[in-house]
Every structure is written in structure tokens, then in C-alpha cells.
Amino acid sequence: MREAIDILDARRRQVHTKGAQPFQLDCEKHSVAGSVSQRACVFCGSRVVLYPITDALHLVHGPIGCAAYTWDIRGAQSSGSQLHRMSFSTDLREKDVIYGGEKKCETALIELIGRYRPKAAFVYATCIVGLIGDDLEAVCRRVTAQTGVETIPVHSEGFAGSKKDGYTAACAALDRLVGSSESPPPDGPSINILGDFNIAGETWVIRDYYERMGVNVISTITGDGRVDDIRRAHHAQLNVVQCSGSMKGLARLMKQKYDIPFVHVSYFGLEDVSKALYDVAETFNDPAMMQRTKRLVRDEISAVMPRLRRYRDALQGKKAAVYTGGAFKAFSLVRSLRTLGVQTVIAGSQTGNPQDYQQLESLCDDGTVLLDDTNPLELAKFIDQTGADLLIGGVKERPIAYKLGVAFCDHNHERKRCLAGYEGMVNFANEVYSSVCSPVWSLSPRKQHASSVKRSIAPGPLVTADAGLPLNAKVPQCPTAATAPSPGSDSQACGVCQLKAHCSGLAAQETETA
């Protein structure tokens, strides 16, 4: 990398070093033309959100690329139908662009619906469809009338904004399904899980926690999603939103239409997942539920803490760079890394808003570089400058880290192990440890002069223990269960984990209860 390379003038205000000057960070801007942006488009936003609805048909109306590039690239797992993993495209050709693609789209839908009998169909409008003006609403109306299968247009023309606008389009499409079921509401407290995409089966873990708390999960939107469940989602008493960037829109629509409140949560890291469960329990104002929740949190933390501590001992003092799609996940990562003794020295996102960055700044230590919508050169530059040992990001960041000779952890679509929840934190620790402390870096030019890292954790039993994440696994009892604070006493931290969240996660400074 040339020393002279610097930040684009137009981007200077999108970079901030904490403590260097009063906090100010520009964000929510379009990427500068010509930058090697890590961002994607409206279609991408819609596609990733709706993709995990597994028993719906997903037809990409456009030239082949948009369908090809989104064909089964996300590990959003399904407990049933796998229809979502197929790639359906109208493969528009030049003559379709000239004469219009409506007929082709309609024929394709009728063929596909006849063949697969999906519960519903989503039709994604790509750049070219928006441009040639195909009337997808009309096509979908006709197909719905003819087939009886609700066919929903997704207005996801790539150029019509950024990835975030794709989330909005997806939420608008979902809004058409929600409330369309006449089945009666379930008994007892009930929620929808919003904004978890079941990467590596994470939704199943979260769902299990809620069920153990005594909460009915009506729908999971959209990880392992089912059309019929989404139709019934309006019966829930609370929407629990994880990926706020993608799903806050739907939560707001449901608040307006059905008066369902929502909370923002995160399931990454011990503190955040505990807080999530407490927040939900608190909403229902049911002492028995709160007791179950406290027991759950205590048992889970007690089970994972001894294992985490070993990783923390090995990772203490390491430095990490975090670059995520949404900003909310970055908060969790900063906290999770801190749990592991790792300091975050670079933190950024593709789509954060001013409040997000303000909060991110408050979480970080002085000297941390905050980046909005960054690019590979900047990332490389700041990794060099800060001496980060680890980059956490997605597919386009992975090879950059490796070229630099820096460890990497995928916390995006391509993670292969569940990183959510308590067991997920152990998996995360294992991922970070296995990369940061790998002997390969000591062979890299970057680290040849630095002291080499010694492995301190034997891989055998840990890999076995952490490899899988059985649902409803029996969690070992907290070794200090007998002496741990009894449920209901909120003030003390557990002797095992020292985490406030273990016993009192009720502080709600970040909670937006609408």
C-alpha cells in the first residue's frame, strides 16, 4: 500500500477517532462514486430479509445475475421447506427489455406456483424492471386471482436508494401478510422474533430460550420463517427486534396497525442476550416468568463462563477491528470482545445512523477509529495504524484481513456456527481464539518481528464441546447455584461470572419500548 494514499476528501467526515476531537461523524450518505464501497443495493437488502421465509416462492424478475448472485449464499437454515434455497429467475433478455417483461413474469409465476404450490410468492423487481416500468402490482394481482396463492411484489429496484431501502421494501411486502390469518390468538404471553435470520440455526436457539421462559413464539421473521405464522403475527403482544436496521420498519408498522409494542435486543454476547431476555420478561410483568428467566440466565452463564474464561486468558490484550453491515451488531461485538479481554480499536458499519454512532462511540475506548461506509484501503490503513490482531466482517473483508496477515471472524452471512446466545458466545470465543492465536500468523511477514502467540488451549475437548449446538441441550448446573443470589434479588453479581447481567440485567438505557 502506498503511504501517500489517504482518505477521500468527501469521506473525511465519515471517519472519526474517539478522543481526538469532539464527536462528529457523517453517515447515511450515498457512497462516493468511484469508491471501492463494501455496500450493496436495494435489491440486496430486500433479498436478504425475505430470503429465509422458507415456504414462500422467491422469483427474481430481472436479468440472470441478480438471481445467480443470491442463490443459496446465506446459511439461513430451515426446519422444513427448503424452497427458499432454489434460484428462480425470469432471466430477462434484450427483447424483454424492449417489449416489457410482464408477460414473462406472469407466465413464470404461474408455472412455478403450479409446480411448487408455495404458501405465498415474492417477486423481486430489479433495476431494469423499475426502469422499463413493468407493472408488477398488476401482474401479482392477476396471478393471485388465478392461482389463489398470494403473490407479493417487492419493490427492490437496485438504484432506488441503498440496502436500507431494500429493508423498507421487504417490510412493506411483509406488512401485506401480517394480519391476514383468521386463526384465533394463542393463550398466554406471545411474541414475534424479528430480525434474526437463522444463520447457522441461531433462531432456534433464541426461540428455545423464550419457550423456556414460558413465552409463545408466534412467528420468526424472517429466519426459518413460515408464511402462515407471519399471517398470524398480529396476535403477538410484543415484537422483539434484533436486526433493527432491517426489521424496525415492520415493527413500527405493526405498532401503528395493531398496537403491538416492540423492544430492540441483541442476542450476541452474554450481556446483550441476558438483557434481551430480561427486557422481554419485564414487558410481561409476570413474576413467575421473571423467575424462570433469571434461572435460565444464571444456568446458561454458569455453564459457559468457565469455558469463556480460558479463552479470555489467552486473548487478553488483543485488538480487534469491527466492520458490520448494521450498527446494532457492532455494539454487541464491542461488548462481546470486551468480555474476551479484546479491545476494539476500529468500529464501523455500512449503514449506521447518527444515534448508532453516538452510542458506538460511547462504548469504545479513546483512540478507537469509527468508520462509516469504509473501503478496503481505509480498513487496511487503520488496521496497520492500530495494530489490530483481528478483523470481524463479512465476505469482502475476509481476504483483506488474510492478505494483511490478520485474523478474521465472519460475523455476517457466512458464519457457519451459531454465534448467538450463550453457547454462541462460546462459539464466538472459539472462533476468535482459533484465528487470532493460530500459529499461521507467526509465519506471516507482518508478524515475523512481533512475538509469536502461543496456543494455550488444547483443541481436543473444546472443539468437541463447542462444535455442535444441540437444541434443548441440558445445561449443566451452575457450580455456585447453591450460593448464587436467589431469583428476585437483583443487586448482586454472580460469583462465577462477575456479570451484572447474570442477576440484574434490567437496566434499560438502550431499550426503545415503543
Binding site: 462516493v32 445467480a68 434484450e94
Partner: protein, 466 residues
Amino acid sequence: MTLLRHTSADQDVQREALTVNPAKTCQPIGAMYAALGLHRCLPHSHGSQGCCAYHRSTLSRHYKEPAMAGTSSFTEGSSVFGGQANLLAAIENIFTVYDPDVIAVHTTCLSETIGDDVPQIVEAAIDKGLLPEGKMVIHANTPSYVGSHTTGFATMTKAMVDYIAQSSGAEKIRDQVNLIPGWVEPADMSELKRLVKLMGLDPVTFPDTSGVLDSPQTGIHEMFPAGGATVDSIRSAGDSCHTIALGPICSGPAAKALFAKCQVPQTTLPLPIGLKATDQFIMKLREINGGFVPDEIMTERGRLLDLMTDMHQYFYGKTAALWGDPDQLVSLAELLITLDMIPKFVVTGTPGKKFFKRMGDVLGDHAQACKVDQGSCADMFQLHQWIKSDPDKVDLLIGNTYGKYIARDEDIPLIRHGFPILDRIGHQHFATVGYRGTTRILEQILDAFLDRQDRDAPESGFELVM
């Protein structure tokens, strides 16, 4: 309905209007890959951000390398008022910050349809003084609704000729040949260059992704790694004595353009995969070098032939299904036939009628036994239907990673070949062209058969020596 069953065996599903699980992708990614084979070039996607992001991600997943490219970041405004302002800003920003020697702009379906005239915009950039001295912008029109990723590759390769190659007017350089390698892996490009050099010739190879997408770990993020065809070398292509274009779809257009522009005689050959196709390549080089083939190449050929004869009993009558890019498929099919195997099903999503003729020529007597399809409905769904409805299961699948679902569903071994390969490494480092490269494919095929035999053998038939 599960993922692993794209289709059931019961009926031949007739489709009119849709592609299910494609055996191709769109033009711009091909243009981006080709442009990465130009030294100190930043590919630039003139369209929405998503196109660029998807192409970079897909190339990164395949090559396990950073794939750098800029985007014009189209907005709604750009799609109404045109992308001129975006491209001008992009050109200025790219030269200011990333400082490439060349920006290689390719269009997308969006910029193509709104009618952005890239050469005119580049003219405007030059008028405004946005191009620093010695720098250049080249372009390729790559609407996604025409051709496939292979034609996008071809178009950008041709653009290198149109923009860069020149004839100095002097006599053609007797030992210098142009080598247009087609869409192959970086290791293949290295191997092809090696063969040309062994033949005593000086290759001008473009595009050349070796050294760019198989670069070493240095601890530094190089925006522009050391490899790639330099502008100077491509400029001199107009003075070469001959052009060898490998693969008519990916390389033919550039070779023809170079002939038209600089009168460099050209020969378009099949990709040198397999003994026969490599022979054609070497024979052509032999014509050019005055009739000389070094012992080293003869030895490599002999080794390959030796392996083919040593192992021929394992190949007789074995059948295979292939999918991917036309240039690759034609040569692979010929290789299988020389091994006494039968290519039974062949699909490519890339449209173009010449493919049938080329496959027909290669298949010869086997043409009757082989189902071939190309175009929109020639996709993985079609292939899976053919395989399922065939009473004799094929013995082998050869194609990109998307075949793994069929492999699992039908319990047929899969050899990964082509683009994209998302779940294995090696393809970018081990060539499959030339005699040595063919040896590697041979090894993979044989391993697949022998592994299968070992796996399925009863204990009494499980033997040490095979």
C-alpha cells in the same frame, strides 16, 4: 420438496419463461474479472452499488482474494438523469485516491438501458482534465440481459485491443505472439505462458490474472498486485506476428479486432484442455516458431499419454454430465471422449447457436448418445431432470460448485471445474490446461472412480492394488 431434489424423475417439465438454478451469470462479472487481469487497473462498475458488491463477493469467494472494483453508486436521480455526473466524479475520485494506470468501466443493465454513452463521458472527463497524464479509461458495454459472464469477459478483453493495442508500422516482431487465454484460472494463464516461452516465443498475454488473483501473502494489502498484463505489453500486441485466441467465445472477438486494427494474423483454437486440444495449441506455436518443439514439452506430452494408457481400463464406457462455459465444455467433452468416456449430458446457460455445432464436431459418433442444451432453460434444473430420468445413472459430474446438490441427491461424484467454485481451494493454483494441467484433471477423474470403487466394494473385493 427439499433442496436436494431440484426436480422429480416423473416428468419432463416444459418451461417457457423461467430459469431455475442457472448455469451462467451475467456479463459485468466477466468484464470485471478480465479487467483484473490488466496491471494496475481498477475495474469500475457503472451502475448500482449492488452489482459491484455481488461481483466482488463472488470473485472473492471463488479466488479467495480481494477483488477490487469501483462503483458509480447509481441513485434514482442517476437513473432518471443519466449517470454522467456519477462517472465523472468516479473517474476523478479513483485517480485521486487509488491512482490506477487504467480504469476499466463496464456497464450494467441499468446504465445500458438509460443509454449512458461511456466513451462520450470519458471524452468529457478528458476535456475537464480529470485524466492525469499517462492514465487511461477503457470501457465495455455489458448489459446483463445479453450473453452471459463469458461474453462480458470477451467484451472487456476486446476493449483492451480497441483502446490499447497499436501497430507501430514497423515489421511484425517475429518471436512475439499474442496469447488470449480465455476465462481460465490464474494458474492456467501461468501455465499457458510457460508453454509459449518453452516454444521459444515471447507471449503478450491478456488478460492475465496470474499474480493478481493468486498473489502471495505479503502482509500488505496491495490495491494493485504485481501481476497482470501491462499497458505497454498490450500496446505492443499490434506488432506481434500472430495472435492465438483460446476459446472462440471468450477470446475470439479480441483476436478478430486485433486483426482488423493491426493486421495481426490470428488463430482461434479450443481451450487446450486434453491431449488433442493441447496438441493443436502446440502445433500452432510450432508453425509460428519455425518447426521446433522442445524435449521438455514432448516429455510432458509423453507423461500424459503414459498415464492415459496406464489407466485406460478404468475409463471405458463411463458416463459424465457437464455444465459450465461453452469454451470449457467443448474441450472437456473432447478429453472425455479420448479417455473412452461418454459425455451424456451437457448444459450451458450461455446463449449462442454455434455451441451445438462445436459440440457436435467434438462428440462425433457420440452425438446421438449425448443431450446438449444451451440458453435460458439450460440450467441446473434441466440437468438434474435429465440425470434423474435416465435409467443408467451417470458416473461423474464435472462442473462448478452448484453441482453439489445434484451430487448429493444422486450420490454421484463431482469434480469441481469452472466458475464459480465456492467450497474448495486448489483450482486457482493448479492449472487444468496443457499436458500438465490435463494430468491433473485425469487424476481427479480417476480418484473419483477409484474412491467410489473402494467405497462400494464388498470386503472380499476391497483390494490394496487397484
